[in-house]
Every structure is written in structure tokens, then in C-alpha cells.
Symmetry: C2
Subunit: 335 residues, 2 copies
């Protein structure tokens, strides 16, 4: 099934959304919010599934689902921890600044604790007070967990995954080096991220959800032009089971935790860095990556960071060309 | 006023607690949880104040307040961001491992995004699966904010502080170096932290709350012996207004965010590293600090990290010797 939150209050109002995202049904009589549903998933999920079946059969009152009226499915969450599972991306970042990739990065997941007190709606602008901060998008896959006990195995962690979706993890690139140098992770350089209009249960994804990875091209457009078409199932060094287990090594993880894949990134078929979509490549899921490749090839980047008025779109299509999770569609706005 | 949460459900049940912490009154008819109260503070706080006055006058039904029945005032929160405001502590940590303290550390706050999906109750054990991880306490001051808009000044940030309390920020010291080297902050090396039994509004603290700092000795006992008596108002390089404004530089902060001071740490009167309480000093608020001083003086640490059965107590007393925030009292337990 597909779940979303219509705007309303701090936590939105839970709706079940039809497979094609055209319709939705109020679910607040079952659980007022998605967090409430996740808190009591064993009891609530079967009721939501019944509602989804009724919605598919048009057997209940239904409303048009407008993505512009959707809040983030979790407008605020108790946890947002983001991995860097596409090590190709990490290697490129390092190469561009002349740093070695430690060998351990291929076996020990890189992850940071992000801010979850505000998750932007899929159509919210990206507020930017200062363009010199170097604003970037990062198109990623996320999962939302139930309760995960301390010390779980990868396999147990996979069983704790309740929902799958997309995120735009906004990054302020020019604030990152100083924060990385302090070693304490990102505070100012990672403002609020936006979630996709709906989150989807793994069973609804069929063959696309396999081995703890979401498969298929993650589409990214920048100012209306194709920018990224990387396959989320390819070059993902650490699957979501491994990422969740990594986070749970020393502590319990609470229901409703959002765990990210890091920027999706594919190598070229020849093993080299990716080519732009316009030149037949799979493109990129963040500006930093194309800038890194430009730096490696030309000595300096030529693609600018985001500025006011720039627009980004992030989505993934099913076999009929429909957006599975809806579309994250944001414009940068002078704040 | 003083607010706490009795155990019950995922978010506890809100109570107003008497000044001496002996009594409490159910406040769930005003707001079911502390988070709900913080979400609607302008409307709810005056009602809670009236309840606190009635409780003080014994004019309403009241119950004994037992700290063992208290959950963390926020059993889960949307944010936990911890500063390192006592730069003395940071300088000692660095000195012990032979690293320079960058000059910028005196002007640019060090802060990390922590996990907030589970805040331990004040009497919860500290679960520890592996003693070789180097388990440590960190006694700190915290504030809880209302909504803080992006880009606030220090003064505006101070006005957004709703509550003050204590935290034991548990750290797994031997997992920290590898995570710091990755630059992405703490993930596995910071398991769940415990909050004090109650949080207190700044006005209730009188002269102790001044210039965005909490003043007075933060008492720490280890296995029943005095271990730390450092004054939280002394040597705090960055006050809470500065810390909150730092976090809010590029994004809004949601109501109910917990912001920490970092480990409280005082220099000796002669400017040297602190001496143990038993030798007339103010002691320490974490084991790492005494181990660093031992390393500087003797070439190696002699105080061990926490092991199963060890107990810690963290509290702060008013002028009558009563615990202002109640007492965090935890035993390490083999997990």
C-alpha cells in the first residue's frame, strides 16, 4: 500500500493513496498520523491494507490526491540517519579534493545523524539565505523502520523495514569542509530535507525491492532538463539491512526512523566516472558529483550550485511510466 | 514550574511537579504529553502555571512524585543536538591524544546531531553489550526549545528556550576515534542518553539562570563517591543562546528540540587541569577527562571506563540542598 499525509497540523493527516496516486482515502479513524500508525504497526497495518483494498475497488468515499496538498509523509520524525551506500559517489568526492578513500569505506558504512525535526513537503521551496553556501540537491532512497532492537543482524533489520520512499537531502556544500574538519558531522551544512509525496510498503514494490535494495532508475531533472538517471539498485555497496543494522549496533532504533541510502550514483559501464545524460550517460543525483568530474577532467567545476529560481524534480517510474512515490518538485527560494 | 512525564505509552503522561519534587499533579487534561505542551506552548503554558500554583497550594488532587516512576520528560524527541561549550574539556581531550586545539574552537561552537528517538528515563540502566567499547558518562546541562526560526540572533534564541534540565550523554569512547576519523560525527559511539526526572522553566531558576547559562555546581557521583562538582556557569565558552543560534543558522528548529551544553568542565583555580574531588578539586563530569589528565601526568590512564554494576548519579542542588531537576541515577547493565 501507499501512505501519505495531507497538510494539517504539525504531523499531517494520514491517508491511504491509490496505486496510481490519483485518489486517496482518509485514514485518520485508524491512525491520526503516519507516526501513530508506525507506533502500532502490527495492529494498524492490516486495517490500512483493508482500506487500501476498498480504495482500489472504489468501495469507500475517496478524494483526489493532489501532491501539492501533501505534507511530507512524516512532517517531523524522531530520527533521520543517512548512509553513504553508493561508495562510487564518496570516492569521486574524495578524488576531486585529492583525498584518498580509506579501504574501510568499502566494508564499514559511512553514516551521519541528520536533523529530523522538520521534513519538507514534496512541493515546498528550498529556502536559501545565502547562495555562497553552495546549495545542492541529493536524490536518495529512504526506508522507514518500525522498532529495531539493539544489535540486530542484517536479516532481522530487513524485517523491520516498513516503508520505502525518496528524499531530497539538501546540502550546503561550501559549509561542509569546515564542519567535516571538526569531525562532529553536519549541523549547519544539512538544512531540512524533502520527502516524496508517498511512502510505499515493500510488498507493493514487487521485484523492485530485492536484497534490501530498491531497483530501477532514480530520475532527477534540473531546470526541466534530464540530469540523473542512475539505477538505485546498482553500485549500492551497502543494502538497507546493513545500514539499519549499522545504526542499531549499540542502541535501539525507534519506530518511524528514516534511514537514507546516500546520493544514488552509478559508475559508467567502462568503470569510469559517470557521463551527463545528454552525452548518453546516466548523469548524477547531485551537483557535487558533476562538479567533481569537471574538476577531475578540466581542473575546475563549471556547473554552478543552485540559486534562487532553480527547480529540481526527483521521481521513480513504474512499468507504466507512473511515479511510484510521487514527485519531489522544489524551487530554490531566496530566504 | 517543573514538568515531568510519568511512564506510560511511548511519550509518557504529562505531570506538573512541586518545587520540592515530592508531589505531582496530572496535567494530561491540559496536554497529554510534554511534546504536545511544547507544540502549543503559548496557550498551554499559562494553564500549566495555574496548575502548578494550585499544586503549591495543595488545592488539587495530587500524587507522590517518585523519580523511579518518571520517564524521561521527553521519552523521545524530534531533535537532540549537543554542543561542546566547555572548551576546556575539548582542549584536554585533544591534549591527551596529542592533537592541537584549532583556534576557531574558541569562537565557532562544536556541535553534533545526536539520536533522539529514545531518551532513557532517569533510573533506566545503561545497557552495555561490550565493555571494550569504553563506556563513559557525560554530565551536561540541556535546554528544550520552542519553535526557533531560521537565522535567529543569540538574543532571539534565548527567548525560545522553554525548559532547562540535565542529561547523561552516554559515550562509547573506544568507538569514537574511528567515527571521528570518518568526519560524519557519532552514530554507534553515542547510544541513548538519559534525561533528568524533571525539566524546569527558566523563571523558576531565579538567579541560577543568567546570561543564557545555568549556574551552580553540577554534582556527579561515581559508585557512591563524589566524582564531579564543576560549576555549570563557569568556563562555559558558548551560552545556550549562542548554541541554539548556531544550530538555527541555516534551518528552522522545531518545538521540543533538546540542545546540550556538552560535558561540564572547569579549569583549576591556577588554570591547570582539574584535580579530583578527593584532592580538593572540582573533579570531572566524565571519565574521559580524568583519564586524559592521568595520561598527561602519568603517560597512561588508570581510571577504568564503566563496567556492569557501576553506578552514576547526576544532580544539582538548590540552596536547601534539594535536587532541582531530580537525580539521574543509573547502573551499567550487561546487555
Amino acid at each position: 500500500m501507499k501512505l501519505g499525509s495531507l497538510k494539517g497540523g504539525r504531523d499531517g493527516r494520514l491517508v491511504v493513496v491509490s496505486h496510481d496516486l490519483a485518489w486517496c482515502a482518509d485514514a485518520t479513524h485508524i491512525a491520526p498520523t503516519l507516526q501513530a500508525a508506525l507506533d502500532d504497526w502490527e495492529r494498524v497495518a492490516p486495517q490500512l491494507e483493508l482500506l487500501a483494498t476498498d480504495l482500489a475497488h472504489e468501495a469507500i468515499p475517496m478524494m483526489r490526491f493532489h501532491e501539492r496538498n501533501a505534507a511530507a509523509p512524516l512532517p517531523r520524525a524522531y530520527q533521520w540517519a543517512d548512509g553513504s551506500a553508493y561508495v562510487n559517489h564518496v570516492e569521486l568526492v574524495r578524488k576531486a579534493r585529492g583525498a584518498e578513500l580509506p579501504e574501510s569505506f568499502w566494508t564499514d558504512p559511512l553514516m551521519y545523524q541528520g536533523a529530523s525535526d522538520e521534513m519538507l513537503a514534496p512541493r515546498d521551496p528550498i529556502p536559501l539565505a545565502d547562495e555562497s553556501w553552495g546549495c545542492d540537491l541529493e536524490a536518495e532512497i529512504v526506508v522507514v523502520t518500525g522498532d529495531v532492537p539493539r544489535g540486530v543482524s542484517r536479516e532481522e533489520a530487513l524485517n523491520c523495514i516498513r516503508l520505502v520512499g525518496l528524499v531530497n537531502d539538501v546540502s550546503l556544500r561550501n559549509l561542509i569542509p569546515a564542519e567535516l574538519a571538526k569531525g562532529f558531522g553536519f549541523v549547519q551544512s544539512k538544512p531540512a530535507s524533502a520527502l516524496s509525496p508517498v511512502l510505499v510498503t515493500p510488498d507493493e514494490l514487487g521485484d523492485r525491492w530485492k536484497d534490501g535494495k530498491l531497483h530501477g532508475p532514480l530520475k532527477v531533472d534540473l531546470n526541466g532538463q534530464p540530469f540523473g538517471r542512475a539505477d538505485a539498485g546498482v553500485d549500492m555497496t551497502f543494502d538497507f539491512g546493513t545500514l539499519v543494522a549499522h545504526l542499531a549496533k549499540t542502541r535501539n532504533i525507534g519506530a518511524g526512523s528514516i534511514i537514507g541510502s546516500g546520493t544514488v550514483s552509478n559508475r559508467d559501464a567502462d568503470g569510469g566516472p559517470g557521463k551527463p545524460v545528454a552525452r548518453g550517460g546516466l548523469g548524477y543525483s547531485c551537483l557535487a558529483e558533476v562538479r567533481m568530474i569537471e574538476t577531475i577532467l578540466d581542473g575546475k567545476p563549471s556547473t554552478p550550485f543552485l540559486k534562487a529560481g532553480d527547480t529540481i524534480r526527483i521521481w521513480m517510474e513504474d512499468e507504466h511510466g507512473h511515479a511510484i512515490f510521487g514527485t519531489i518538485e522544489q524551487a530554490v527560494e531566496k530566504a
